[in-house]
Subunit: 290 residues, 2 copies
Amino acid sequence: MNKTESLTMVRRYILDHLYKYRQSETIYQASRYSIEAGGKGLRPMLLFTVLDALAVDRDKGLSAAAALEMIHTYSLIHDDLPAMDNDDLRRGKPTNHVVFGEATAILAGDNLLNESYKVISNDDNLSFETRIKLINELASASGQAGMISGQMFDIEAENKTISLSELERIHQYKTGALIRASVSLATIVANASEKLKEKLIDFSMVIGVLFQIKDDILDIEGKPEETGKNTGSDEKKGKVTYVSELGLNGAKLELEKKEKNAYKILTELDHDIDTSGLREIVAMFADRTQ
Amino acid sequence: MNKTESLTMVRRYILDHLYKYRQSETIYQASRYSIEAGGKGLRPMLLFTVLDALAVDRDKGLSAAAALEMIHTYSLIHDDLPAMDNDDLRRGKPTNHVVFGEATAILAGDNLLNESYKVISNDDNLSFETRIKLINELASASGQAGMISGQMFDIEAENKTISLSELERIHQYKTGALIRASVSLATIVANASEKLKEKLIDFSMVIGVLFQIKDDILDIEGKPEETGKNTGSDEKKGKVTYVSELGLNGAKLELEKKEKNAYKILTELDHDIDTSGLREIVAMFADRTQ
């Protein structure tokens, strides 16, 4: 199964779930809109690639991948709201509240968050214990111990001077927590050893930062027709980014450093698992144009 | 353990959880504010009372009660937002966004929803199977199959003429789903028989409607110093209520009808369980002044 097929399967899984339990047609359509808006699906892809490396069937990680994508999508819907980032364009399409109105967008976001837990709890291909571990790990990554605190840190840092280490900390929470969870959920599904789990999580934290540096570079250098976002929007909002802190060249050097670090960890893992797919992920994160 | 003690214990349980896993101080304070604002705690109370009736220790239901209260509180924070009901007073105190700003209120609501699932997944006094059943049932009550669709139906019905049966349907989802879950979560914790579970859920659906009728009556007749809400706010917003549909006296008659129906179900249950606490709940729902 290739990348596109896996991603199509995750979206289909989410849409089937949303359709099956729908009551309000508006909630269903608004939730579906943002799932279909079609992001890059990096989190499901990362989870599946770790499962490949651990020689576990991708099907076993389907509900976890769906939940990750649903939580990522809900966070984007709420982030885009006028009271938050006030973005009207996302993935090249009008944002949820632009199409459905603010009240519906708030509820559609709430819905995707809530249903992500239902998706995992429903998955009777996994033992009760595995499901609870997945839910616990996902809730830790998404809630106040992870992403939500990151979103708050990010808002609080706007138009302030912060250090590079403070910036790293924000991203470790805001985007890093869910990227880390993409890896740790896979290790839970695969029932991987503690040693492997630790190494893979180290890896996830490096590529989490790498991902963010690239994001900041693309905000300056990216083509709106590829990124689906307006160029220079971070600067306009007075956001602190790797580019604003290190300059464009400094950010590129930092990206290279993280890339090397990621490959170094994978080389250490080569004794135990097949890291070829994970190497492709590093290249994909570093070289992406969208 | 009496009513106030149990409720204090649930709030303490929630606050301990929020404190333990806090990262952003702002998220912690904003989440805490709404938990401490101190509602009536009807959902935890109902859950505990069903556990009493089933002769199961209240401690076993603590995480489920906490999760119910957290989800109820998150829904109020989001409902009060300017883009939703735009309420600045709740439980006699300024609403979350009035104190912390809209962005923080959105995130604090997201946080309480997310952490509610973590609270249950963390509870190792319960088997993995029980935890998964609780999470599944709670997610069904809170998400698009329940409360969230109800919130959407409610918004869509504003300033429209709808029938009494349509109004009942809205409330079955909006407030009924979580009241029903208060009972069904207790039956899961207690591992009650299917027969008992069915009867108790019938009961929960009747008192769910009863609760809503009383709410609509209090919106007209309640004292702001007791209800903590401005009087007549439903009418101002053009909301369809039992009072707008049936008139004040008609609503009171309907309340009496539901009250009788609730007692009838309890009488049928008298052979199997001690319904005295549940009878008190009916009286409390029907006679409350706040």
